[in-house]
C-alpha cells in the first residue's frame, strides 16, 4: 500500500500541505495527464492510477475518463501494459457487480455499470476497438478484453449482440479464442460466448458454423466428460444455448453426428457407484440431460424430434439413459430428470417405446422397468417431483402407441396369467383407490392416457371387474370410479376421476350407458353442476361435471331407458338451464391450472397441492367443448345415429346419406321403368287398333267409290229414261227407290267414314302424346343414369366398393 501511495505521489506530485485533494480533482488531473502527456511512461502511470481509483470512485473516473480511455485503446495499442490498464479501468467502471470498496458509499447508483455501458456503446466503433484487441496475443490484454466484453454483454446483451453481429468477423474472433492454449483465456471465452449466444438465433448459428460443437466436445472429452470440472458445465451450457429453440442448429447437430458424441457422457463406470456423485457431476449430467431434452422437446418440429429419437436409439443413448434409470446411487434430482428425458426420447416413437417397455429392472424377481417406475409413482414416500416425472414418462410411453395402451389395459383384464406378479394395471388400480390423494390423481391420469384416442381400449376397460369385498359380487371399474367420485371429499381426486371418466366416455356410447346405469351418477353430476359454491376449485369441479354431463348426452345411444338423450337434455334444460350450463362449462378454461397445463405436455407444478388438470385432458376439452354446446343448443336433426359416425370417421355419415339417396333413386328408377313398360304396351295396342280402323276405313272408302261409280252409272240411265215414261215409270220408280236406298246407304257410309276418321284422328293424337311422354321418360332416364354414375363415383372416391346395379340398358 505504501508503494502504491508513493506511486500516486510521484504521478500527482506532492499534495499541497494541509489540503487533501478530492477524488474528483485527482481523477481530473490523472485524466489530463493521460490525455496530454507526451511521455508513454507518464500515460502508463496515469492509467495505472486511474485503474486503482476506478473501484472506489467509479462515478468520477467514468464520468471524466471514459473518452480518454477509449482514446488510449486506439492510440497506445503498441504498449500492452497501458492498454491493459485502460481495459481494466473500463471494465471496473462498467462492471455489473458492486465492489467491496464502494459498499459504504451511498451515492453510487445501483445500475451505474449499466449507465456507463450505455454511454460507451453509443459509438459502435468502441466495440470494434475492443474486438480488435482480441487479436492481440498478449495474455493480459486478451484476457482483459474478453472480460470487458463479458461485462458489456451482461449489462446490455441485446444491444451488444446486434452490434457484434454486424461487425465482420466479430463472432469469429471470439470463436478463435476457444482454441487458445492458455486455459484461463479459453475458460473466460466460454463465459463470454454463453452470454453472447443467449437468445440470439443468428449468433447461435454463426457460432455453430464456426465449429463450436467440435471444439466443445473436444474440451468436454479432454476434461473427462461428466467427471470434469465446471468447464464441462460451461461447455454444456453453451451447447444448450446454441440448440434451444434453434431448429437449424438442431438439424446441424443431428447431421454432424454429434448425438453419437454425447454417448460417453452418460456412460457411468460400474464400479463408481459407491463413490457417490460430486455436486459438479450432478450439474454436468443435469446439463447433458437438458441437451438431450432440447433435441427431442415436444415443442420442436415433428420430423426433427422423430429423427433425433431414432438416432438416439440407434446410437445407444436411450440404452445408456435407461441404465442410469436402473442404476443405484443416482441422486434423486438426476434420476428425476433422467426419467423425464427417457420419456421425451421415447414419446411417440414406437420402436423407442417398445424398447422402454422391454427394459428389465435388476430387481429380484426381475420386473419390467415400467412397473418399477409406477411403483414409485404410487408411493407417497417418494419425492413429489420424481412421481411427476414418472407420470410424464409413462404418458410418453403410451403416447400414440396403441400397443402399449392395449398392453396396459390387458394387465387389468381377467386372464389365465400368473396372478402373483405385480402388473402396471394393478398398481394403477391400487393407486386409484388408495387413501393418498396424489396416488389417486396420478393413477387416474395414467389410466386416462391409456384411453386417449383409442376406442378399442375404452371398450376393453369396460370389461374390467374389481373384487371389492370378499363375498360380494365384483363390480366394474367404471362403476367403482363413479361411486368413488360421489364419495370422495378431495378436490384433486374428484378432478382426476372426472377427467378419466370424460376421456373414457367421450366417443364411447357403451361407456356412457354403463355410467348411466350406476345409481346416483347422473344425479351427482347435475347437483355438482348446479352447485353454487364460490371457490376457484369448486368452479372447476362444476365445469368438469357439466362437461361430463354433456358427454353423457352427446354420446348417448338411448340404450338406458330413463336416461335417453332427450330425457337427459330435458333434465339439463329444466334443472340447470342452458345459460348456467354454458357458463359453468366455460369456467374450466378460465381456471389457472387449465391454462398452465395446456401449454406443455409435461406437468409443471411446484407443489403437490397445485396439481389439477392434465395436458391431454385440455386437448380433449378443447376439441369437444364447442361440439357439446352446439349439440345441446341445435335442435336434433339426424337423431342419435349420426353421433357414433361423426367421430368414427367424418365421411361415414355422408356415405350413409349417399347410400340412402341411391337407394331412393333406384326405387324411383324401377317405378319409372314399369310405367314406361305399361305405356309402351298401351301404345302398341293403340297402334294395332289404329291400323285396324285404318284398314276398315280404306275398305269403306273402296266400297264407297264402288257405290259412287254404281250411282253415276245409274244416273245417265235415269236421264234417258223419260222417253218412255209409262213403260218405264214403274221401272223408274223401282230405280228411284233403288237410288234412294243407295243414297241412304252412301250417306250412312259417309257418316261411318267420318266417324272412323275422327276415331283415327284421336288415336293419332293419343299416339303422339304417348310418343312425347316416352321421349320425356327417356330423357329422365338418361338424367337418372348420369346421377347414378356420379354417386357411384363419389362412393368409390369415398372408398366404398360398389356392386354393379342391374344395368339400366336392360331395363329400357
Amino acid at each position: 500500500m505504501d508503494f502504491f501511495k508513493s506511486g500516486l505521489k510521484t504521478v500527482l506530485g506532492a499534495p499541497e500541505a494541509g489540503q487533501q485533494p478530492s477524488a474528483g480533482e485527482t481523477v481530473e488531473r490523472l485524466v489530463n495527464r493521460v490525455e496530454n502527456s507526451t511521455l508513454l511512461e507518464d500515460r502508463r502511470d496515469a492509467c495505472r492510477a486511474l485503474k486503482a481509483m476506478s473501484r472506489k470512485y467509479r462515478v468520477e473516473v467514468g464520468a471524466q475518463g471514459m473518452g480518454t480511455l477509449r482514446q488510449v485503446l486506439e492510440l497506445d495499442r503498441a504498449d500492452n501494459e497501458t492498454i491493459n490498464y485502460a481495459l481494466d479501468t473500463l471494465n471496473n467502471i462498467m462492471s455489473p457487480a458492486q465492489f467491496e470498496e464502494e459498499e459504504e458509499n451511498p451515492n453510487i447508483p445501483m445500475n451505474i455499470g449499466e449507465q456507463f455501458t450505455e454511454m460507451f456503446i453509443k459509438d459502435h466503433n468502441n466495440i470494434q476497438l475492443v474486438l480488435d484487441l482480441l487479436d492481440e496475443y498478449d495474455f493480459r490484454v486478451r484476457l482483459s478484453a474478453v472480460q470487458l466484453l463479458t461485462s458489456l454483454l451482461t449489462n446490455r446483451s441485446k444491444d451488444i449482440q446486434e452490434i457484434i453481429l454486424v461487425k465482420p468477423m466479430g463472432v469469429s474472433k471470439m470463436m478463435d479464442l476457444l482454441g487458445d492454449t492458455r486455459e484461463v483465456i479459453r475458460n473466460e471465452t466460454l463465459l463470454l460466448l454463453i452470454k453472447l449466444t443467449k437468445g440470439n438465433a443468428n449468433i447461435q448459428k454463426i457460432v455453430a458454423f464456426e465449429n463450436a460443437f467440435d471444439r466443445l466436445f473436444e474440451i468436454v472429452s479432454s476434461e473427462g466428460y461428466s467427471d470434469g470440472g465446471i468447464i464441462v458445465e460451461d461447455c454444456l451450457l453453451l451447447m444448450l444455448n446454441l440448440l434451444k429453440n434453434n431448429s437449424s442448429n438442431i438439424h446441424f447437430f443431428k447431421e454432424g453426428n454429434y448425438i453419437q458424441k454425447m454417448l460417453p457422457m452418460f456412460q457411468t463406470p460400474d464400479d463408481a457407484e459407491d463413490l457417490g456423485w460430486s455436486p459438479q457431476k450432478v450439474s454436468n449430467v443435469h446439463c447433458m440431460l437438458q441437451i438431450v431434452r432440447t433435441l427431442v422437446s415436444p415443442s420442436n418440429a415433428v420430423q426433427i424430434i422423430s429423427s433425433c429419437q431414432k438416432i438416439m436409439k440407434y446410437a445407444g443413448l436411450l440404452d445408456s439413459l435407461c441404465n442410469i434409470l436402473m442404476a443405484s446411487g443416482v441422486p434423486a434430482d438426476i434420476l428425476t430428470e433422467t426419467i423425464n428425458t427417457v420419456g421425451e426420447v421415447v414419446r411417440g416413437e414406437v420402436n423407442n417405446q417398445d424398447f422402454l417397455g422391454n427394459v428389465m429392472a435388476p430387481s429380484n424377481p426381475p420386473r419390467p422397468a415400467i412397473v418399477v417406475l409406477l411403483m414409485s409413482m404410487v408411493n407417497e414416500k417418494q419425492p413429489f417431483s420424481l412421481r411427476c416425472a414418472v407420470l410424464y414418462c409413462f404418458q410418453c410411453y403410451l403416447y400414440r402407441n396403441e400397443m402399449s395402451q392395449a398392453s396396459l389395459v390387458q394387465t387389468l383384464l381377467p386372464s389365465s396369467s400368473d396372478v402373483s406378479s405385480l402388473t402396471s394395471g394393478q398398481l394403477l388400480c391400487g393407486g386409484l383407490f388408495s387413501s393418498d390423494v396424489l396416488s389417486n390423481w396420478f393413477s387416474a391420469v395414467a389410466l386416462m392416457h391409456a384411453l386417449t384416442e383409442n376406442a378399442a381400449q375404452k371398450e376393453q376397460l369396460l370389461r374390467v371387474l374389481l373384487a371389492t369385498n370378499i363375498g360380494s359380487s365384483p363390480v366394474s371399474l367404471l362403476h367403482q370410479c363413479t361411486l368413488l367420485l360421489q364419495q370422495s371429499t378431495k378436490v384433486q381426486a374428484k378432478v382426476a376421476l372426472l377427467m378419466l371418466l370424460s376421456q373414457w366416455m367421450s366417443y364411447c356410447p357403451s361407456a356412457v350407458s354403463a355410467f348411466l346405469k350406476v345409481p346416483g351418477g347422473v344425479g351427482y353430476l347435475v347437483n355438482q353442476t348446479c352447485s353454487n359454491e364460490h371457490d376457484d376449485n369448486e368452479y372447476l369441479l362444476q365445469g368438469l361435471s357439466a362437461f361430463l354431463l354433456a358427454i353423457c348426452i352427446h354420446f348417448n345411444d338411448d340404450s338406458v331407458e330413463n336416461y335417453s338423450k332427450d330425457s337427459l337434455k330435458q333434465l339439463l334444460l329444466k334443472r340447470i338451464g342452458m345459460e348456467t350450463f354454458s357458463g359453468k362449462l366455460s369456467e374450466v378454461t378460465k381456471h389457472e391450472s387449465y391454462n398452465k397445463a395446456a401449454k406443455h405436455p409435461q406437468l409443471r407444478v411446484k407443489a403437490p397441492g397445485e396439481i389439477l388438470i392434465d395436458y391431454e385432458f385440455c386437448k380433449l376439452f378443447k376439441s369437444l367443448e364447442g361440439v357439446l354446446v352446439e349439440s345441446l343448443t341445435v335442435k336434433r336433426e339426424n337423431g342419435v345415429e349420426s353421433l357414433p359416425e361423426s367421430r368414427a370417421s367424418p365421411s361415414s355419415g355422408a356415405l350413409e346419406q349417399y347410400k340412402s339417396l341411391i337407394r331412393q333413386q333406384d326405387a324411383r328408377l324401377q317405378e319409372l321403368t314399369q310405367q314406361l313398360d305399361g305405356l309402351l304396351r298401351q301404345n302398341t295396342q293403340l297402334q294395332s287398333a289404329l291400323n285396324d280402323s285404318l284398314a276398315s276405313n280404306s275398305h269403306l272408302k273402296d266400297e264407297n267409290t264402288l257405290l259412287k261409280a254404281q250411282v253415276s252409272a245409274a244416273t245417265p240411265l235415269n236421264h234417258q229414261a223419260p222417253a218412255p215414261p209409262s213403260q218405264d215409270d214403274a221401272k223408274a220408280k223401282e230405280y228411284e227407290a233403288k237410288v234412294q236406298h243407295l243414297a241412304n246407304e252412301v250417306a250412312k257410309l259417309t257418316n261411318e267414314l267420318s266417324l272412323a276418321q275422327e276415331a283415327k284422328k284421336t288415336a293419332t293424337e293419343e299416339l303422339e302424346k304417348l310418343k312425347k311422354d316416352q321421349e320425356d321418360l327417356l330423357v329422365l332416364l338418361v338424367d337418372q343414369d348420369a346421377k347414378l354414375n356420379e354417386y357411384k363415383m363419389r362412393l368409390i372416391s369415398l372408398g366404398q366398393t360398389v356392386d354393379e346395379p342391374p344395368s339400366e340398358e336392360d331395363l329400357t
Binding site: 453481429l165 454486424v166 461487425k167 465482420p168 468477423m169 466479430g170 463472432v171 469469429s172 438465433a201 443468428n202 448459428k205 454463426i206 458454423f209 464456426e210 465449429n211 467440435d214 437449424s248 442448429n249 438439424h251 446441424f252 447431421e255 454432424g256 453426428n257 453419437q260 454417448l263 436409439k313 440407434y314 446410437a315 445407444g316 440404452d319 445408456s320 417398445d354 424398447f355 422391454n358 427394459v359 428389465m360 426381475p366
Partner: protein
C-alpha cells in the same frame, strides 16, 4: 455415416434467385414453388461420393436480402466452397455479381472454390442474361460456371458435386491446409465413427436380448 471428408458450403446471391430451392432440390430432391424468405441462414446436409470416397457436404443457405448481408458475411471465412447464384431472367441479379464476388473474396480464405450459377434455366422464354455472358464473367474472374434449374433439377447435382470435385482436387494438390478447420474442410472420423457404430449395435443387441428374457 462415416465420411472421408466434410466440406462446408455457402450459397450466396441476390434475394429470390432460388438459393433455398437449389438446396432443397439437392438435399431433398424436391421443388417447392413457393418458399418463404430465408431469415438469416438455414442449414442442409447431404452425402456424395467422389473418386470412391464418401464426402459429406454441409451447406449453409444464406438470406439474400441486404438487411442480412452483415450476418451472412460471418459465414464466408469458414467455408470451403461457395455457390454464387444469379437469376437468368433478372438482369439486375447478374449485375450485382461483382459486389457479391468482392464481398466473398474480401472475407473468405483465398482458396475458397466459387461456382457461378445461373439459375432458372427452365424459363428460357423470359431469359435476360445470355449463357455466353455468364461464361464470360466466370472466365474473367476465374470461376466455374453452370446454368441450373432448381425446378427441373437440371445440373443441380452437378453444381454441388463439381464444386466438391474442385475442392477435392485442391486437397490432393496440397493447396488446402486440411488440418485447419477454419478452411471449411474436415477429415472424417472414420476409425472412431466405425467404433462408435459397432458399440451402438452391440448396445442395441444387448437391449434386444434383455427384451427376450
Amino acid at each position: 455415416m462415416a465420411y472421408a471428408y466434410l466440406f462446408k458450403y455457402i450459397i450466396i446471391g441476390d434475394t429470390g434467385v432460388g438459393k433455398s430451392c437449389l438446396l432443397l432440390q439437392f438435399t431433398d430432391k424436391r421443388f417447392q414453388p413457393v418458399h418463404d424468405l430465408t431469415i438469416g441462414v438455414e442449414f442442409g446436409a447431404r452425402m456424395i461420393t467422389i473418386d470412391g470416397k464418401q464426402i459429406k457436404l454441409q451447406i449453409w443457405d444464406t438470406a439474400g436480402q441486404e438487411a442480412f448481408r452483415s450476418i451472412t458475411r460471418s459465414y464466408y471465412r469458414g467455408a470451403a466452397g461457395a455457390l454464387l447464384v444469379y437469376d437468368i431472367t433478372r438482369r439486375d441479379t447478374f449485375n450485382h455479381l461483382t459486389t457479391w464476388l468482392e464481398d466473398a473474396r474480401q472475407h473468405s480464405n483465398s482458396n475458397m472454390v466459387i461456382m457461378l450459377i445461373g439459375n432458372k434455366s427452365d424459363l428460357e422464354s423470359r431469359r435476360e442474361v445470355k449463357k455466353e455472358e455468364g461464361e464470360a464473367f466466370a472466365r474473367e474472374h476465374g470461376l466455374v460456371f453452370m446454368e441450373t434449374s432448381a425446378k427441373t433439377a437440371a445440373n443441380v447435382e452437378e453444381a454441388f458435386i463439381n464444386t466438391a470435385k474442385e475442392i477435392y482436387e485442391k486437397i490432393q494438390e496440397g493447396v488446402f491446409d486440411i488440418n485447419n478447420e477454419a478452411n471449411g474442410i474436415k477429415i472424417g472420423p472414420q476409425h472412431s465413427a466405425a467404433g462408435g457404430a459397432a458399440a451402438g449395435g452391440a448396445g442395441a443387441g444387448g437391449a434386444a436380448g434383455g427384451g427376450c428374457c
